[in-house]
Structure formats: structure tokens, C-alpha cells
């Protein structure tokens, strides 16, 4: 469950205050936030992830108002309950695919046996490159790794920032399908922010900023 109320943010005293609509998502509900560049889509996503502190308002994930948590508690909460997917799916460049997944689990304080990790990588069709370094992966493989990293710790909330913007139609559909599948499987809320209108029809809940 995700609840956002009266949320606003200001980068600096001389910049305008950004105000965001109230959002209420029940378990497993998905939401698409559309908007042109510069309206504050990413800011909203970062407020939901606890990476920014709001000027005022409430961000509640499950029963927890994340802005009442201490810095370290917020880091832990984010690690355990939130997954994030980025437009360019970055991973830690010094580690292999498998090591990246293990690092993700380590920081979130969760664990998974190698066999289960390999099963997950197999489901995402990157099982064969588990021992490859990040710079040896194709863009498509990186995208899949990004999704694996976002879901491997079974989060309550998945936040995807422009996950399809740089993809062609075929890959766009594939990535969207994977996101929805994994969210369904983990009973997680999925929030996607984008300016990519191709995916609008895939969501029942759409907010335009």
C-alpha cells in the first residue's frame, strides 16, 4: 500500500515549490505518472524513495511514514522494501552480473541461495551471462539485469524512472511485460514515471503532472 498526501518540495528558497497530487495505491496496484520534462516526475519518484525530503506532506509505504525515519533507518527501509529501475540500467561496474545481484541482496540485508538467483536470472534470460562484467553486456541484457536488481529482494514498491524511453517498440513491450510480471509475482506496487506515451494503455491508473 502506498499513500501520498499534500506532498510538496522546494529545491531552494528561490525556486518554485513543486506540489504533487495525492496518491493512494492498494496492494499490487500499478500507476503510471506521465508528464513532460521538468514538471517534477523524477522529484516525485525520489520523494517516494526517500532520496529527497519533502517540504511538507506524507509519504507512507505500508504502515510506515518514511519521513519520520532516521537517515540510517530510511536507508535500511529503502534497501528492504523499495526497488528502483532506471532509464540506463546501471550496475556496479567492477562486479559481475551474479556479484551485482549478491551486492544488492547484501545491502538490503536479505539473502538468497545461488540456485534461486540463477533461476531468477534464467527467467530474465540473462542466466548465461552471470559471470560477465557489466561492460560486456548488451543494452537489452543490462535492462534485464536492472529489473532483476529491482526485484531480487522482493520489495513492496517498485519505482521505475523512464524505463522504456530509450527502447524501440519491441523492447519497450518486453520490458513493460517483465516489470508487470515481476510486480505481480512479488505482490508489489508498481509506479512508472515517463514521458513515453506508448505505454499509457498498459495502465489503468494514470496521473498526468
Amino acid at each position: 500500500m502506498v499513500e501520498i498526501r499534500n506532498l510538496s518540495f522546494q529545491y531552494a528558497s528561490h525556486t518554485p515549490v513543486l506540489r504533487f497530487p495525492d496518491i493512494h495505491l492498494k496492494e499490487k496496484e500499478r500507476l503510471l505518472i506521465l508528464g513532460r520534462s521538468g514538471v517534477g516526475k523524477t522529484t516525485l519518484l525520489h520523494l517516494m524513495a526517500g532520496l529527497l525530503t519533502p517540504k511538507e506532506g506524507l509519504v507512507k509505504i505500508g504502515d510506515v511514514d518514511i519521513n519520520t525515519l532516521s537517515d540510517r533507518a530510511l536507508d535500511r527501509f529503502r534497501g528492504r522494501h523499495i526497488g528502483m529501475v532506471f532509464q540506463n540500467n546501471h550496475a556496479l561496474r567492477s562486479l559481475t552480473v551474479l556479484e551485482n545481484i549478491k551486492a544488492r541482496l547484501f545491502f538490503s540485508g536479505k539473502s538468497m541461495v545461488d540456485k534461486d538467483i540463477e533461476t531468477l536470472l534464467g527467467q530474465l534470460q540473462i542466466g548465461d551471462c552471470k559471470n560477465q562484467k557489466i561492460n560486456e553486456l548488451s543494452v537489452g541484457q543490462l535492462q534485464r539485469l536492472g529489473i532483476a536488481m529491482a526485484f531480487v529482494h522482493r520489495p513492496r514498491l517498485l519505482l521505475a524512472d523512464e524505463p522504456t524511453s530509450s527502447l524501440d517498440d519491441l523492447n519497450c513491450a518486453t520490458v513493460l511485460q517483465l516489470l508487470k510480471q515481476q510486480a505481480e509475482k512479488n505482490k508489489a506496487n508498481l509506479v512508472v514515471i515517463t514521458h513515453d506515451k506508448r505505454i499509457k494503455s498498459a495502465f489503468k491508473n494514470v496521473i498526468t503532472l
Binding site: 525520489h46 532520496l51 529503502r78 534497501g79 528492504r80 544488492r104 545491502f107 538490503s108
Partner: protein
């Protein structure tokens, strides 16, 4: 997976930078530890080599030369002094022991010293095997001499004139090994010890030959012989007769005192009232170390400069890494890593480099010192026992760690100031 493993992987991801930083830092650590250990070892070797000798009396000249030649046996003697001075000094109530020594020959670079049984007492030398010298031309060899030359009891050898191995000026009277000393780690380990009569006999014999040759060639008696032989005393066959000893000479006299008063008064008296020179070994060595200390300090400063430059390399490398990998670090924050964990990842990376440098630096210093000492030994037949000072090493490593940790902490500053949201947005 853990933080150390991530740090190690990060380090291995940039091998060139890691190798350069580690090698430069290890060179400075090796240089620092090496020069300090060498300085300490030489000091220890010299101070230990003094044995119980409190004062050395010899011919006028440089007091340092007198100490180096007569106590440490690494320089040429200043000249000879009359043997009766030995008896005169021995009768002084402040003197506990007056040990005359005479030398000027060597066997394969190891000096042959003629003295009394009191000579071994000065260095606390005890027999490992064999017996004491009873007759002329008998020797007891130091432990290092026995090891290096493979001499055994009953072996005989011919000595050469001077202090370097020299087949052209070989004496024709053979010495016989009758004893071997236990190792003392003092100068006596590399000496061949005999009695005074042996030295006098060898040179009397040489003198006899030269005189005979001169008589044949020139038809008259020479007034003396080769200049370098003047450092040796000449005595009749039997040194037991006091009147015969009056004409003899020795190279120097090593003294110990009954109480500190001797040390305070006798050197001044000798230097002021006689034609002899008295030198205090400890004082002269301190003077020597003050001179050599300048060189040691200069090398130490160079090592410290390299250390600072190496630490700057680590700082710049880590600082650059934090900036270049800002997104990676921000990504780890989204994974749930706290600032402290990120600081640990970067800090451990620096620490791994410092640890690798310390290990490599220790290896550098030990290998370098062994090479240097083997060079010393082959050049000047002076073996130096390496002394490891844990206290000094720890002190040096603490300085290294402090500077390194400071570099790493400075590199962490941009990490602590990092705006995660901005980094993620900018890289998006």
C-alpha cells in the same frame, strides 16, 4: 558478498592505478624502514663491536682513525707506540686492564692481531674448540673467519702484508690454527688472534730477509724497511726478557678502568703530557654518527617526500574514483547502503592499498638490506647483523598510516557531500 569484497573488486577494476599507487608507496615505506634499520644495525654493530674497551691509546693522529683501526679494525693504524708505555699504563691505579695489540697483516682480508689473553676478555670471547695460544705462530680464529674461510684446527696458512688480500707480499712463516672462538657478534668474530711475539717474529723474519737482501745489493745495513712495516714492533726472539721488550713497539693499547675517574682524567693527561694519543671509542663513534646522521636524515626526508607524494596519488585516485563513480555509489544508496557503508567501501579500498604497500615495503626493505649487506661483505669483509627494532618500525608505520588515512578521509569528503537525488537525475 561483503564490503571488503566490493572494495577489493573496485581496486582490481583499476589495476594500473592500484599498481602504481602501491609500488610508489611501498618504495617510500621500504626506503624509510630500510634506512632506519640500516642506521640502527650499523650503530649497534659499532657499539657492540667496542666490547668493553673504554679508552684506546695509540700514536698521535686522528682519534677517530685510532678508534676505527684499533677497536673496530676497519681503518689503517695511526702509527706505533713504544711497548714500555703498556707497562707504564698498566701500573696506573685507575687502570683495570691495559691490553696491547699489534697488527698489520691479514689472511684473505681478515686481520691478524697480536695481543695478550686479555684481548679475548675485552670481547667476552670463549673457545668453541681447541686451546689457547701457547707458542708464537699459533692463532685462535674468530667464528666468522672459521665459517667464511672454512679453517679448522690444525690448518696452517701464510699471512700477507697489509689489510687486503695480497699474494705478492706473503710472509713465509706459517700460522697454525689452535682454536676457534664461539660467535660473539663483536669485532673479534672476524679477527685472527695470536700473541704479540707472532707478529714481531713475522716481521723480524721479514726484516732479516730484507736486511740480507740489502746487504747483498747495497753492501751496507739498512736503517729500516718498508714504510708500512713501521707500524709493527720488532723484538728479539724471546719477549720474556724485560730489557729486550724495551725496544719493542705495539700499534695501540686498549684500556678498561676500575672506576669512572679513570675515564675522566686519564685521556686528558695522556693527550696533554705524552706523545701518545688517547681516544674515547664511544665519544668518537658518536661523532661519526653525527656526520653519517646527516646522510641518514637526508635519505629519510627523501623517503618522507615520496611517502607524501604516494599518499597524494592514493588521495587523487580515490577522490577521482568517488567523483567518477558517483552514480555507482548513489546506486548503492538506493540498494540500502548507508553513507557509512559507502565510506567504508572507499576507505577499505585505500586501506587495502596501504596494507599491500606496507607488506611490499617490508619485503623491499629486507631484500634491499640483504643485497646491500652482501655487497658490504664482499667489498670490505664487514658483516653487519641486521637489528630489527619493532618500536621504530611501529612508529614509522604509524606515520605512514596517519598520512594514508588522512588522504583517504580527504577523498571521502565529496562522498559525504553527495546529493544522491541529483546524481541519479543527472545520470538518468
Amino acid at each position: 558478498m561483503n564490503i571488503w569484497k566490493i572494495s577489493l573488486k573496485n581496486l582490481l577494476h583499476r589495476p594500473l592505478y592500484a599498481v602504481l599507487a602501491i609500488v610508489s608507496l611501498s618504495i617510500s615505506i621500504g626506503l624509510l624502514l630500510g634506512i632506519q634499520q640500516l642506521d640502527g644495525s650499523i650503530r649497534n654493530q659499532f657499539e657492540n663491536g667496542l666490547g668493553n674497551v673504554e679508552l684506546v691509546v695509540g700514536a698521535k693522529g686522528s682519534p677517530l682513525q685510532l678508534v676505527l683501526s684499533s677497536v673496530l679494525h676497519i681503518d689503517q693504524p695511526t702509527g706505533n707506540i713504544p711497548y714500555p708505555e703498556v707497562e707504564r699504563l698498566a701500573k696506573n691505579p685507575l687502570v683495570k686492564a691495559a691490553v696491547p695489540i699489534s697488527y698489520g697483516d691479514n689472511y684473505k682480508g681478515y686481520r691478524i692481531v697480536g695481543s695478550t689473553p686479555g684481548f679475548a676478555t675485552l670481547y667476552g670471547a670463549e673457545l668453541l674448540e681447541g686451546r689457547a695460544v701457547k707458542e708464537a705462530m699459533e692463532v685462535i680464529i674468530g667464528n666468522e673467519v672459521a665459517q667464511e674461510l672454512g679453517l679448522r684446527l690444525g690448518d696452517t696458512f701464510l699471512s700477507s702484508h697489509g689489510f687486503a688480500e695480497n699474494a705478492l707480499e706473503e710472509h713465509d712463516q706459517a700460522f697454525t690454527v689452535v682454536g676457534i672462538y664461539k660467535p660473539t657478534y663483536k669485532v673479534i668474530d672476524r679477527l685472527i688472534c695470536s700473541n704479540l711475539k707472532s707478529i714481531w717474529d713475522v716481521h723480524d723474519h721479514g726484516k732479516g730477509n730484507e736486511e740480507a737482501r740489502d746487504r747483498e745489493e747495497n753492501g751496507h745495513h739498512p736503517e729500516g724497511h718498508d714504510e708500512s712495516h713501521e707500524t709493527h714492533a720488532h723484538v728479539p726472539e724471546d719477549p720474556m726478557h724485560g730489557h729486550e721488550l724495551e725496544d719493542k713497539e705495539v700499534t695501540s693499547i686498549l684500556l678498561t678502568f676500575r672506576n669512572p675517574m679513570g675515564l675522566l682524567t686519564l685521556p686528558r693527561t695522556i693527550n696533554k703530557d705524552t706523545n701518545l694519543q688517547a681516544a674515547l671509542p664511544k665519544y668518537e663513534l658518536e661523532r661519526l654518527f653525527r656526520f653519517t646522521g646527516i646522510g641518514v636524515k637526508a635519505i629519510s626526508w627523501i623517503a618522507y617526500i615520496i611517502l607524501v607524494i604516494s599518499c597524494m596519488t592514493i588521495f587523487i585516485g580515490l577522490y577521482k574514483m568517488v567523483r567518477e563513480r558517483a552514480f555507482d555509489l548513489a546506486l548503492m544508496r538506493t540498494y540500502g547502503a548507508g553513507n557509512f557503508q559507502l565510506a567504508c567501501i572507499v576507505g577499505f579500498e585505500g586501506l587495502l592499498m596501504v596494507l599491500a604497500s606496507v607488506v611490499l615495503g617490508l619485503i623491499f626493505s629486507q631484500v634491499g638490506l640483504q643485497l646491500l649487506l652482501s655487497l658490504f661483505k664482499s667489498q670490505i669483509q664487514q658483516g653487519i647483523a641486521l637489528v630489527f627494532s619493532a618500536e621504530q618500525t611501529i612508529r614509522t608505520l604509524l606515520v605512514v598510516f596517519s598520512i594514508s588515512v588522512l588522504s583517504v578521509l580527504m577523498a571521502l569528503l565529496p562522498l559525504l557531500r553527495m546529493n544522491i537525488s541529483k546524481v541519479l537525475s543527472d545520470e538518468k
